[in-house]
Subunit: 186 residues, 2 copies
DNA sequence: GTGCACATGTAATGTGTTACATGATTAT
DNA sequence: ATAATCATGTAACACATTACATGTGCAC
């Protein structure tokens, strides 16, 4: 339940928006803002099979699809169970581990919140996100100070700075996004 | 040659700095700025074995280590071949694919350039990095404009913005880093 | 009826994670 | 000698990538 690959979650989110085929999903990954996902058939079709086996998605009934023949276009849609899994995921709290290890998944989560959970959930998410991220950035700044006092300028230090600045950009984005959602909800 | 996992590259870079054991490397991953690497034995020891099998690293000869007994502390160091692989990697050009798919590897590369390649190589790297990243950000901005004209404010759009802002922070870091290295080289 | 794009399947390979097991070293 | 810590090994599992294979439907 808590161990879905980010690809599986992306598929659930996309199928929630609109029932579609594996091929459609591949085209989405190949051509849209979700291009950071691989569009290789070797990842997507097996992932769809896994989701189907858990009864989180189902193929639209098709003529001549009575037995084992799975060739030809198959349109998948979310089941009630699949929707529940998606919504549960969207509503989870943000942990330090999420910041450290699962940043892409956090952004995917936020992206899918749009019409699937109330605005208040998205706003709460951003608050927790800012909290956890701010604490982590503070830690990193301490590390940086410790490092820079011990060594002259070098590429390792610069690379570390790049990481910190990336997190800071994310933090500043979150604050802006939260203000923007709060404003809209007025 | 061009298909090393980022973990293997991290191990090569760290062993270049100082011969050390798998346990030492694990502690580095667990406690330093490289904490984005897993410190699990199940990843590190097999990776060291792979590098050893390719003769890129070698274990320091040890008393009683004559045959198959591999228990006890083993200190690894880079071989000449391993150093060559590391240096070749450090000197590679930056591609669009690197920006899209291998950003963490790019930062690792830059971090390890420090004493292993001339400053001019690091400066060239940053130039190519800025070039490729700038072009990609421009693409993303076009996508964003297309998206935002078609839809009202929503979390998907905001998430996409977050990605763009992350890349922009990276770009601005690169410009600063390049200036800083050029200044130092004066 | 042949060719091409659409649509899905899958085997081989490599690697990472988790969880557990085991040997070595040191302090008490 | 016993416990704790150091240090490495490994089996089971899941997943992604690549490359190839196969079927489907339409245009010409």
């Amino acid at each position: 339940m808590s161990t879905n690959s980010i690809l599986e979650l992306a598929l659930l989110g996309l199928l929630r928006q609109k029932p579609q085929s594996g091929y459609d999903l591949r085209k989405t990954f190949a051509t849209t803002a979700m291009r950071h996902f691989s569009d290789s058939p070797g990842s997507i079709y097996p992932a769809l099979r896994r989701l189907e086996a858990r009864d989180w998605i189902a193929a639209e009934p098709q003529a001549g699809n009575d037995s084992e023949n799975r060739r030809g276009r198959q349109v998948f849609h979310l089941t009630a169970a699949g929707t529940a899994v998606l919504v549960e995921w969207l509503g989870r709290p943000v942990t330090r581990e999420d910041i450290l290890w699962r940043m892409p998944e956090m952004m995917l989560r936020f992206a899918f919140m749009d019409t699937n959970v109330p605005r208040s959930t998205a706003i709460r998410f951003l608050g927790e996100f800012e909290q956890a991220l701010g604490a982590y950035v503070a830690e990193l700044r301490i590390d940086l100070d410790r490092m820079s006092s011990k060594m002259s300028i070098n590429t390792g230090l610069l690379a570390f700075q790049s990481g910190i600045e990336g997190f800071e950009a994310q933090l500043s984005w979150a604050r802006h996004a939260r203000a923007s959602l709060a404003e809209e909800a007025r």
